[in-house]
Amino acid sequence: MLLVEDGALAVDDWHHLADDEPVPASGLVTVSFARWQLDEGTLRARGDKLGLRLPNTIEPKELAGDLDRFALIVLDFPKFTDGRAYSQARLLRTRFRYEGELRADGNVLRDQLLFMRRCGFNSFVVGERAIKENWAKAFGEFDVFYQSATDNRPWVMRQRLSP
């Protein structure tokens, strides 16, 4: 199940292709970074949109020339305490101007959702708890921020300097 940034729940309509699975001729699929490197030609030749699952150890700059090919990039939080994907997200959005869907997967917890959205994520893979505990509320727990981030929300210095 997916939580999207406006707080709605959505069904994931992407198929997440295993590395040993043949590439279907059509349909929305995501591939691993390894698969992308191996089968770039085949994947580029497909007409349908493509998604990429990027491990948190890969530098976004390695994708710099390819980003327009992806409609979805899935970043991984192997543990919620492993915060590398926050930096990947900000770099993808601000430095490499990636404008497609940026999805957080892995150990995604309620109390990190706002941090993730501020870094540029706009969808989140969540479990059943998200409904029971009303995770959508987490996005609204703060409406003042002490630093600029990728969400372009107003932040303290700008607000104080331009009243």
């Binding site: 915060g83 993730m116 870094c119 505990e133 003042v144 921020f145 600029s148 303290v156």
Partner: protein, 549 residues
């Protein structure tokens, strides 16, 4: 001092509401302890040996009388009537109930305080000179920069899950009173040849299991670019810092494995590619924040120095206090006062609610309502007229706050150790007390001497930087104490070296005495211990300590 505006108030109120809900979910069983742990840690709540411990943030050590009175009230109402100042200038309460913590945070918020990021793998409290704004040797007040960094670092969305904790310190004076080089990132304020203000940035200091001093990564960053440069430092760390081993996760290890130069190059590249304008700090904002730290309206009428001299001459105890705990102030007729929290026989850094209220009253009466915490676990009254010093000392002394031992051998930095802390491997408080008792009679003869003591390898007591450092370790169920010599904080920072086999707990005071006796015998005029140690080497100390008796 810095005062909250609507923005800050709203922020801490939202934070309290968020945390209250987190505690509710935990108590309702919706969050496991494992999931709750990082949330409570982001609010400074630890689970220790006997109870929860709450670590309250005191940004760059600044307090006023209102905050002090509220802290005293919290200590009485929710704890056992006392608290403990840490080497990050925070305040720890060691006997807290989880259910009470949302109310405590709400009380703190009402006086512009919080406990955000006093723990967890994120930015910790930024520290600076306890004499900021009043020291004669400073280039400019460092506190506005500390406040700007505090704001930017608070709940930073990209850097709240770093490989490990991250500590920043700032120094803007000739003498480094903030131990900047032991920090993950340190800033020294300089003026360049064009007369522009900026910072030398040092990175990779840290104590713990593998101590290192920070190294310069950039000699001058204009102050308007300081946030973007720190952001670049952090982004490189967040991407490349080790996460596979807790003991190798601090930025100091990344610095060592890459080398300072390579790390500096990575940061430079990242910085140049980043959108520096987005978080540039304009002069106008620096000025706006600096206005909050404007000097108070000093009474510049003449001070009766002769009366002060008579009080000194007539009272040897006061004379000692004047000598050790009273420091020069940049405004004539005024003094900066260190309130020692190191009364011999007491727990260093501890303060009772009644003592805290006394400090609040004295701050109101004599120091424009202002007080500070120094990383050495003492307090400071920054603006005292010299003709009020005798009265101040009498009132402090009546409350057990009149010890005259700033920077002397009984002014020991000490962590809570195994009496409280879940990480400790040995007791530290009783050992520090025993050393202080043993050495007190000689402290004047010894002069400046810094003993620092930690109850485990995490080095919260900065033992690596002690002239004599003491580390408590567990050896097959017995608490023994490893001694290091020659450490130093400040500009001449040095990591102490281990002198030899650890000593048993009961033998520690005599061992320290023996080592100091060697120093007294060998020191030359004006030499502090680290200088003597560097000149004569380890041998004479080793010989004396391990000689068969």
């Amino acid at each position: 001092m810095y005062r909250y505006d609507d923005f800050d108030h709203r922020f801490v109120d939202e934070r309290v509401a968020q945390y209250r809900d987190q505690v509710r979910r935990r108590l309702a069983g919706q969050l496991s302890e494992e999931e709750f742990r990082p949330l409570r840690l982001m609010n400074g709540l630890y689970l220790q040996l006997h109870a929860y411990m709450l670590r309250i943030a005191i940004p760059y050590g600044m307090l006023n009388s209102t905050k002090l009175r509220t802290l005293a009230h919290i200590m009485r109402k929710y704890d056992r009537g006392y608290g403990h100042f840490t080497t990050r200038t925070n305040l720890q309460l060691h006997w807290i109930r989880l259910e009470d913590t949302p109310d405590i945070l709400a009380e703190l918020a009402s006086v512009e305080m919080h406990a955000i990021q006093t723990s967890g793998n994120s930015f910790r409290n930024t520290t600076t000179d306890p004499f900021a704004g009043v020291a004669a040797d400073e280039l400019e007040d460092p506190r506005p920069y500390a406040e700007i960094i505090r704001q930017w670092a608070t709940l930073h969305p990209e850097f709240s899950f770093l490989p490990r904790k991250f500590k920043i310190a700032i120094c803007a004076s000739k003498e480094d009173r903030a131990a900047v080089k032991m920090h993950d990132l340190g800033l020294y304020l300089h003026k360049n040849e064009a007369g522009e203000l900026g910072f030398e940035v040092v990175v990779g200091g840290g104590l713990g299991r593998t101590p290192y001093l920070a190294q310069t990564v950039k000699a001058f960053v204009p102050r308007r670019d300081i946030l973007s440069y720190i952001e670049a430092c952090l982004r490189v760390y967040n991407r490349y810092g080790r996460r596979d081993n807790l003991w190798k996760a601090r930025i100091k290890i990344l610095m060592q494995s890459l080398g300072a130069q390579k790390y500096a190059e990575e940061v430079e590249q990242e910085w140049l590619a980043s959108d520096r304008a987005a978080i540039a700090v304009p002069e106008t904002y620096i000025a706006e924040i600096a206005a909050a730290f404007a000097p108070p309206d000093y009474d510049r009428s003449p001070v009766d120095e002769a009366a002060l001299e008579r009080a000194i001459a007539g009272n040897p105890a006061f004379a000692r206090w004047m000598k050790h705990n009273v420091h020069a102030h940049k405004v004539p007729g005024h003094a900066v006062v260190t309130i020692s929290l190191k009364e011999v026989g007491k727990t260093g850094g501890d303060i009772s609610a009644a003592q805290m209220e006394t400090v609040a009253d004295l701050a109101d009466a004599l120091s424009f309502g202002e007080a500070r915490v120094a990383y050495e676990q003492n307090m400071v009254l920054p603006h005292v007229r010299r003709d009020r010093l005798f009265e101040l000392w009498q009132r402090l002394d009546a409350m057990g706050l009149g010890s005259s031992n700033k920077d002397l051998v009984t002014d020991i930095i000490c962590c809570p150790g195994l009496d409280y802390c879940g990480l400790a491997t040995a007791r530290s408080i009783p050992v520090a007390q025993a050393i202080a008792k043993h050495m007190a009679a000689k402290e004047d003869a010894i002069g400046t001497f810094n003993i620092k003591m930690s109850g485990c390898i995490n080095a919260c007591g900065h033992h690596h930087l002690g002239h004599i450092g003491i580390l408590g370790v567990d050896k097959n169920g017995e608490e023994v104490y490893q001694i290091t010599l020659g450490g130093d904080a400040g500009h001449n920072a040095a990591i102490g070296t281990i002198i030899g086999p650890a000593v048993k707990r009961d033998d520690v005071p005599a061992a320290i005495d023996t080592l100091i006796e060697v120093y007294l015998r060998l020191r030359q005029e004006g030499e502090r211990f680290p200088e003597t140690y560097r000149r004569v080497g380890q041998a004479p100390f080793k010989e004396a300590l391990y000689a068969p008796r």
